[in-house]
């Protein structure tokens, strides 16, 4: 498998309004030194808590925020070097599904118009009949009834809106779909439908997925590999099974331990407390390892020296102490 997308040493910072006229502008380091590669047809799950930079990563890959440092390559070409026509053409291969299914669809467009829009933009040579045929095909593929073509988003349920968003994202048969919390706003009984649909679409079209979610169980279910972000830094990345069976970073361990499990054997018994404290502000990350302020294993070295991602086969971890901790 060759790399479809390659992110190396990516940093993204947002400028915030100053506290006062004479103060320096504040910088929020949303991503700091993130590197990974994504192969075609592969699902990379991205997990982390709010504010860890998950959505910023999606935005940077889509070119919605400029990197402050590092590079994002698509099939070996640095995105920053692409001119705007080339950048636009990339839209054919790179699509996104957002969290809020209703808010991400234009309320004044019908389902048919929404799904046709990428075709109209990127394949204007197609005639109306060809577009209509592709739209009908895309709708059937996501399980929407062709009779719903002329309905507006508010006439659909949340799960159906997400199907429309997936049809829109896949109508051009792209190479990569970035899914930013695609099922978080849906009810449990609908989540499973959408998760199955995404996995089926991936198998049918050979899509790569960047699957961003805070729901670890769902990420494990859909992902081949998983990346764990903490405060804008990649702390662990590896094959999904290895990461769940033998997590290395203390943060990954805590995330998995804190996962509530619907297990009757554990009913009513105390849940794992997971972690103390809350993620520090990305405006003032701790020195050294970003996680050390909440880590029970932290030592002096973790304060003074920032751990780098240490590859070990397919599994990499950024922790000074992962080999020593039980």
């Amino acid at each position: 498998m060759s790399a479809l997308l390659e992110v190396s040493d990516l940093a993204v910072a947002y400028a915030l309004p100053t506290d006062g006229v004479w103060r320096a502008p504040r910088r929020l380091q949303a991503l700091d030194g993130v590197s990974f590669a994504l192969a075609s047809g592969e699902t990379l799950g991205v997990v982390g808590e709010s504010g860890c930079g998950k959505s910023t990563l999606a935005r940077a890959i889509l070119g919605l925020v400029p990197p402050a440092r590092g590079r994002i390559s698509w099939l070996g070409r640095d995105l920053a070097t692409l001119g705007s026509p080339e950048r636009r053409a990339l839209g054919r291969d790179l699509q996104i599904v957002f969290q809020d299914p209703l808010a991400s669809l234009d309320p004044r467009m019908t389902a048919g118009q929404i799904i046709a829009e990428p075709l109209v933009t990127h394949a204007p040579a197609l005639g109306r009949a060809a577009i209509a045929e592709r739209v009908a095909h895309a709708m059937a593929r996501v399980g929407l009834d062709a009779r719903q073509l002329n309905r507006y988003p508010h006439e659909f349920s949340g799960g159906q809106c997400q199907r429309i968003a997936i049809a829109r994202a896949t109508v051009l048969e792209p190479k990569l779909v970035v899914c930013d919390e695609p099922v978080s706003a849906l009810d449990v009984s609908i989540q499973a439908q959408i998760v199955n649909l995404l996995v089926d679409m991936q198998d049918a079209l050979g899509l790569a997925l960047l699957f961003i979610s805070h729901n670890l169980a769902i990420v494990r279910h859909v992902s081949h590999r998983i990346a764990v972000l903490y405060l804008g830094r990649l702390v662990e990345i590896g094959p999904a099974a290895a990461l769940f069976e033998a997590p290395r970073h203390p943060y990954t361990r805590a995330l998995i331990a804190a996962l509530p499990v619907a297990d009757p054997e554990r009913a009513g018994r105390a849940m794992g407390r997971g972690l103390d404290g809350e993620p520090p502000s990305p405006l003032a990350p701790p020195s050294g390892c970003a996680f050390r302020s909440r880590c029970a294993q932290a030592v002096a070295r973790c304060v003074s020296e920032r751990p780098t991602l240490e590859p070990d086969g397919a599994h990499a971890v950024a922790c000074h102490r992962w080999r020593e901790i039980p």
Binding site: E49, S50, S157, G159, Q160, D187, V188, S189, I190, Q191, A192, Q193, V195, N196, V199, D200, H214, L216, A217, I218, R220, H221, V222, S223, A240, A241, F244, A254, L255, A257, A258, L259, P260, V261, A262, D263, P264, R266, A267, G268, R269, A270, M271, G272, R273, G274, L275, D276, E278, P279
Partner: protein, 326 residues
């Protein structure tokens, strides 16, 4: 379990029977809750599980007199001998706060953004307990310390936006506990929080020596926190019983379907998840038969014409299904 305990213990703390909640709309009344009956025994931790629109939140808002102005609750709801639905508004307001307290889902909107934490906490004490300002402030600081907030004196002077989500939820829990209620109702208390913070808040609630109702859509929270469960679908209770039994042997096809639809860590990844086809009915759509029949994999003709009455199986589980095995 229930039958032996019923003889050993005197009376339920909360007993609801024949409860219905209607909302007046221009198109006529819409039923949000129908025929709900359940008991909460002292010391119980009851989990109320349901998807959006199942009526789980409206049920408890109705008990506390907090329905929207077009809402109306009919039925019986006895709390410690008093009928909540028959109490005059002022008496109900006094009772809620003194003896029943509620914690809402979104800790940002449940706190007044214009008032300091101290003002919001001491208000409860001066209104319900008649304390003077100095002792109210002392009691508020002590309660913040009890819910795990460091430097309580300093935090009292802060505004809600200066606290993190987890911290705000602790403040809300502190506020609910100030008058030492006998019953705490928490509506999705951890849904807005990150998974590691969720563990902390559930551990905090778990350590409270009082009767609790947790409204949730998460089987993990139910398994880790509750001893009894009530599953709602389309405004009705479809199944209730001990959590352990419900998870190990769900009797209602809806409960069973939900449990199968959640990705589990002990199952192989990327296999299709079991789904519940379709989506929950609109409240107004409820027909004559079982509301779940259109989505039910085992429904027979009888299910579409006759609504199943709740019945007890094995002495401890109540299920509203014609076909549930006893």
């Amino acid at each position: 379990m229930r039958s032996t305990r019923a003889t050993a213990e005197p009376a339920p703390l909360l007993e609801v029977a024949d409860l219905r909640v209607d909302f007046a709309t221009p198109d006529g009344p819409v039923a949000a809750v129908r025929d709900v009956a359940f008991q909460v025994m002292p010391g119980d931790r009851l989990g109320v599980l349901g998807e959006s629109g199942s009526g789980k939140s409206q049920l408890f808002l109705a008990l506390l007199g907090l329905l929207a102005p077009n809402g109306r609750a009919i039925g019986r709801a006895r709390f410690a001998g008093q009928d909540l639905l028959a109490l005059p508004a002022a008496a109900l307001r006094r009772l809620c706060g003194d003896r029943i307290a509620m914690v809402f889902q979104d800790p940002m909107t449940a706190l007044n953004p214009y008032l300091r934490i101290a003002t919001q906490l001491t208000e409860v004490l001066t209104l319900h307990r008649g304390l003077d300002g100095v002792s109210a402030r002392r009691a508020a600081a002590a309660m913040l310390a009890r819910v795990g907030i460091a430097e309580p004196e300093r935090r009292l002077a802060l505004y809600p936006h200066e606290l993190s989500g987890g911290m705000r939820q602790r403040v809300l829990i502190a506020m609910a506990l100030l008058c030492e209620p006998e019953l705490l109702i928490a509506d999705e208390p951890t849904t807005a929080l990150d998974v590691t913070v969720q563990g902390q808040i559930l551990a905090l609630l778990q350590d409270l020596p009082l009767t609790q109702v947790v409204i949730t859509h998460d089987f993990g929270v139910l398994a880790g926190f509750c001893n009894r469960a009530l599953v709602m679908y389309a405004g009705r209770v479809v199944e209730s019983g001990p959590v352990r039994t419900l998870l190990a042997r769900p009797r209602h096809p809806y409960t069973a379907g939900l449990l199968r639809a959640i990705p589990r860590l002990d199952q192989p990844a990327r296999r299709p998840l079991a789904t519940i086809p379709g989506q929950p009915p609109e409240p107004a759509e409820a027909g004559v038969g079982c509301a779940f029949a259109p989505r039910c994999p085992i429904a027979v003709a009888r299910c579409r014409v006759e609504r199943p009455a709740p019945r007890t199986v094995d002495g401890e589980v109540t299920v509203a299904c014609h076909l549930a095995a006893s």
